[in-house]
Symmetry: C2
Amino acid sequence: MREVAVIGIGQTRVEEQWNKSLRELAGDAALAALRNSGLEHVDAVYVGNMMSGSANLQLHLGAYIADWIGMRYSEGLRIEAACSSGAASFRSGVMAVASGQVNSALVVGVEKMTDSPSAEITSELATAADADWEAAQGVSFVALNALIMRRYMYEYGWKKEDFAAFSINAHANAVYNPYARFHEPITMESYAKAGMVADPINLMDASAIGDGAAAAILVPLERVQAAQGIPLVKVAASAAATDSIAIDQRRDPLWLKAAELSVKQAYAQAGLGPADIDFFELHDAFSIMAALSLEANGFAERGQGPRLANEGEIRPSGRLPIATRGGLKARGHPVGATGMYQIVEVVEQLRGEAKGTQVENAHIGMAQNIGGSGSNIITHILRTV
Amino acid sequence: MREVAVIGIGQTRVEEQWNKSLRELAGDAALAALRNSGLEHVDAVYVGNMMSGSANLQLHLGAYIADWIGMRYSEGLRIEAACSSGAASFRSGVMAVASGQVNSALVVGVEKMTDSPSAEITSELATAADADWEAAQGVSFVALNALIMRRYMYEYGWKKEDFAAFSINAHANAVYNPYARFHEPITMESYAKAGMVADPINLMDASAIGDGAAAAILVPLERVQAAQGIPLVKVAASAAATDSIAIDQRRDPLWLKAAELSVKQAYAQAGLGPADIDFFELHDAFSIMAALSLEANGFAERGQGPRLANEGEIRPSGRLPIATRGGLKARGHPVGATGMYQIVEVVEQLRGEAKGTQVENAHIGMAQNIGGSGSNIITHILRTV
């Protein structure tokens, strides 16, 4: 297996981009990544996207985007794993380059959600749940997460306000990220006053959807050397695991089994453990998911995720910085693109380019993307060479 | 790069399977492939599917199907490349095993189309065309192919009846394939009388949609030995290339450039040329596509594809048998599953299990799956070890 390096990154701002089509968004991020890499051509284009078939009436994004960015004739595939489509496409790129089948790959995550009415988007997001056993009952994604959060509060004795620190950290960090959807810091007061979405999840617990694209360029590590002044970044681990889609089918709805399994593989591949991770871009689609992620990945005891947040350890200066560029909560969550934003943000940190929220001595970063309510969890560890 | 073996295959019959859900179809093929391989567990499940998000209101098929077949916790991804989603998922499985990231993979192509009204299916198929430049103009897939066929007839002087031999061969072969949608042979007379769909494409030029699933099990070649009496099959080549999605963007609408490029890579990987291919499962979604495929892959001169058919060389006893189990035309074309049916049928031939249409001395078989009107073309060469 060849080792794989990430030599270019690009992204668009997450927002309501009504003036940009799906291919323009993807193209902007993809071309920025190409320029950043110095390459002019790639062998393959892998696209992470969840809902373009229904939201944009366009499938076949591999060929569609390859042609748009001037890579007509290259390989082009789309990879989908609900909200973990971004990481799924990155993993596909990593495997393609590692296999020797492909010598350069562009991976781009893209989602254009705000052209559709919000009721439609809620239905489209529900296609990540089980059509027969969940969606047909009328349970939306936020409702599923609300059930999990309520049970968590009951089991471990946390109050709703104990989750505020996750959102406050995310918004504080996003202020410095020009690509984030929100640049407004929030306080405990604004958290407490926020409108309820599905009790106990309020607007400040939930990530915002948006339009956006993020991209990276992958090549075999053996073929590149570090450019002057920019640390070279390699993929130290890539791993994926699933769980049941329907939450009621799980033995323990408060434990992200797929995260535990995927990070276990990732730690083994990289020869590392939780203590070696300098920062962690986790999947805070809802604040409860941030808490559960810290636990399943070995950073907090079971039921103790919120403690890390309330002790300030998740800030850029803390023991385990998370959501360092705003996370899903404040950078925004264009679902199929999110996993690629996480990868781009990890590379920014490792290169020392995370202006305003740079983690000191960041050499090893982890990204974890979740599809469904913990049904598909994909973990990547990147490190400087 | 590790070499990859195909050690199990499974399929359902292509038909209107109203009594089976999407996961049941995929599960039936997947479990048949597992039983055929002797394995009880796989590291990863890769699903090829085009339109389940809109046709079945279910995305996230990787986790969804993995759980259904008892592989909860394995990796699970869906790969989409319009009608070439099947081959795209197979290629993803090949790269995953070749990379060393995965030691066993189940690849299943599945599509459940007949629950939707046919007008909806036409719209859903149009998401493989360019939403802005083609579909928005009201051009359906069959209309695009009719334009190509008409131009081809004009340029090279063929009559409509000259394409009949492709469909007659496909239907003759499907009679012997228990998994084919149609078991009725057709004649020149029934071809000539068939109802027109989009002039000059009539019902006998066009493949039928359907519900179906086909699956294969992949492992590193180095880890298996041939079972007694069953030839071991390995993947000798895997290659993919794209072209513009919109046909008007191409210099030559009568040449499958992506087929030429992908087969060139495949021949190079396998160290083979057209003369070495014992049979060819090509993408005869329309009879014109069969003709163009023979040309772009080096089996016929430009404009001379129909000659091979009319000389009888495409029959199981001919120089280059095609559609040996019925092809898209008569086995049926459940779009995202088709590429995996082709792989399964190639393995049947190589193992000597193609009862009724067995190609003699079949040691090297090629499968080629097309997404859109030649926009995404994926080629695999399989051979006995």
